[in-house]
Symmetry: C2
Subunit: 382 residues, 2 copies
């Protein structure tokens, strides 16, 4: 979002077309100042301001309403086979209780979504979604294949607890066991009657957990229980931080990748097991793309000039001299690095680290240099 006062002005209209999270009232009560719509649901963007919220995330601990990460639940005798059919990532090694970051691809290898998969049982899965109607995508596939599956959007609403003190808060809330929870593993938990799934995951480079509420009527109760547990550790309400996630080189679906991109363009070919025996959407297309190679690649860019006061709300062009060679998808000023950072696509010929390019910002052409990702090494160790 833009940080310029001009763009601050327009308000968001609240109505019944867009869904409210079980934590919506709490986020209003705690002073959420900006919202967006994500998976047809209102989602807070920041409270104090994006930079102040960022400092709380990297220094203390923050609680985010990310209920808009809706779940698609897949059950039935063929659920495991069906889920494998949705993604090029091999899932044979995924254990019950484990999470996997997966790419969903269409018949051309285009990116449909990049959810976190939770395996709750041998034939019981959740896809914790980015912003696209995977419910419609999967229902249409299920209705036209022989696989015997049942697909729903269950009453499951995630929160994220992220920051250096996330473990302290979680142990205060539920006891010691989260200390033994491996990265990308989860456990079911009953918090005095509040049914939860708690995973050691999150959309930040910090330590953290996702807390999946399985009863939407208990949203306010859960929110306040976590705030109470976090008080001693300086917990603050916040939201996914554009600043911190770009520092950590984490991609945002629909922002940094769309249906027009494929896994190789975003440097995630390693999540595509094209030799596996199982069939999956886009298998042949991805083999062809891998063989032919891609024309553009997502890269990190360090951008010169003074601190950027706006996030880019448009796809600024990236120039190699006079020649347009790509576009910026995300950009931000990093207070910790005291540098302007960007993510974007450039033609492969310009994608090597160290390549000097230019970014067409509204305030003029800014010099930029292709940089390895992440810009800042995540620190998720407990």
């Amino acid at each position: 979002m833009s940080l310029s006062p001009d763009s601050f002005a327009p308000i968001i209209g609240f109505g019944t077309r867009v869904r409210k999270s079980p934590f919506f009232d709490a986020t209003r009560r705690y002073g959420a100042k900006a919202f967006t719509v994500y998976n047809h649901m209102y989602m807070p963007l920041w409270y104090e301001d994006p930079t102040a919220d960022y400092w709380k995330l990297v220094n203390d601990v923050t609680l985010w309403d990310v209920s808009a990460q809706r779940q698609v639940e897949i059950t039935g005798p063929d659920a495991a086979k069906f889920v494998q059919y949705l993604t090029p990532r091999r899932l044979t090694e995924c254990a019950v209780g484990q999470c996997k970051y997966v790419l969903l691809t269409d018949e051309n290898g285009g990116l449909i979504n990049d959810p976190v998969l939770l395996k709750l049982g041998e034939n019981h899965f959740w896809l914790s979604l980015a912003d696209s109607d995977v419910l419609l995508w999967t229902k249409a596939i299920a209705a036209h294949t022989e696989m015997d599956v049942h697909i729903t959007e269950p009453d499951v609403s995630p929160l994220q607890l992220q920051g250096p003190h996330a473990f302290d808060v979680m142990v205060t809330l539920v006891g010691d066991w989260p200390g033994n929870l491996g990265y990308f593993w989860f456990q079911e938990h009953d918090l005095d009657g509040i049914p939860l799934v708690i995973s050691r995951t999150g959309w930040s480079g910090q330590r953290g957990f996702e807390i999946y509420l399985r009863d939407g009527s208990m949203g306010d109760l859960l929110w306040e229980r976590i705030m109470e547990a976090g008080r001693a550790f300086g917990i603050a309400p916040a939201a996914p931080s554009q600043i911190e996630r770009i520092e950590a080189g984490m991609l945002s679906y629909a922002t940094d990748m769309t249906l027009e991109n494929n896994p190789f363009e975003i440097n995630l070919g390693k999540l595509c097991d094209l030799d596996m025996q199982a069939d999956f959407m886009g298998k042949e297309a991805l083999k062809r793309i891998k063989q032919e190679g891609v024309q553009q690649r997502l890269v990190g860019l360090e951008v010169g000039g003074g601190p950027m006061i706006e996030f880019n709300a448009d796809h600024w062009r990236i120039m190699d001299g006079e020649e347009p060679v790509g576009v910026v998808t995300s950009s931000v000023y990093s207070p910790r690095l005291d540098k302007n950072l960007a993510l974007g696509y450039v033609s492969v010929g310009c994608s090597d680290a160290g390549t000097e390019l230019g970014m067409e910002a509204p305030w003029g052409l800014a010099p930029c240099t292709v940089s390895p990702l992440p810009f800042l090494k995540p620190n998720r160790k407990s």
Copy 2:
């Protein structure tokens, strides 16, 4: 959206995840004060305020940016067969140049979307969409059936020109021919190099047109051309009016109907030709639903008490004495009728016109009476 000052506060964040309409800059320039997100695109909600914009719509003429009504384009040898497969409405009589309001249903008869279909050629169609990812729905079906179709989201962005003076503005803009355009027919038009499709359709009870821009780079040019043509007729920028569309009994997908509802619950069984030979999604389920009958039905409600100062941002319960019998999906104060109006679902036993019920509003229980729809007869004659 709520009209209470409290809910006015939160702003909408602008970024690159949500798309911008080709008219986005124009709508900001013309003072759009509130936005929502619809089909992953920013859409203005009002300019002066919802009531002032409404009076411009019903008295004069208004221009709306509804680019968020994205198009799904279906071409290829089996396009006609494929489109028929998506909807229970018989399309054999749909001529090239004609529009049809269609319901898209899933395998259970649930509502996927309720687009306007435009038939541009024997095997060339647009679905002008409400708010759900029909692109993913249709692509998944196409990838798993034998039908030979090509599905894309083309560079097509609609405006709506609605109000008593819509014909005057259109004739000033393009000449006399729109006067001979039948309701729900369209024609292609080149406006001094701006490629358009102009249909006599729109989401209001007023006279009007939809103007489909086929080159996103010309958004600002087209917007200003229409504003210039409308100046003499008091044109104003506006947006889909919740007040006027409820008066006209027009439904909003995701607001008044969802995947959980079927065509019979919204009283549109007449758009389901269950005897047609062609197969379509949900055919067997809809036959079963029609035979068994529905448990709830969408109705109009006249609500007592003083003028409502807010639209409902929640699904207020509808009570029959102590018994909850349904929920409100939309509600508004109608300045022309000087009545509070609502749309909602009630159990069939309570759905007859004249039935006296109660609406649980935040300010207390308001008496309401089931009323025939529309509340106000549309006036779309030229």
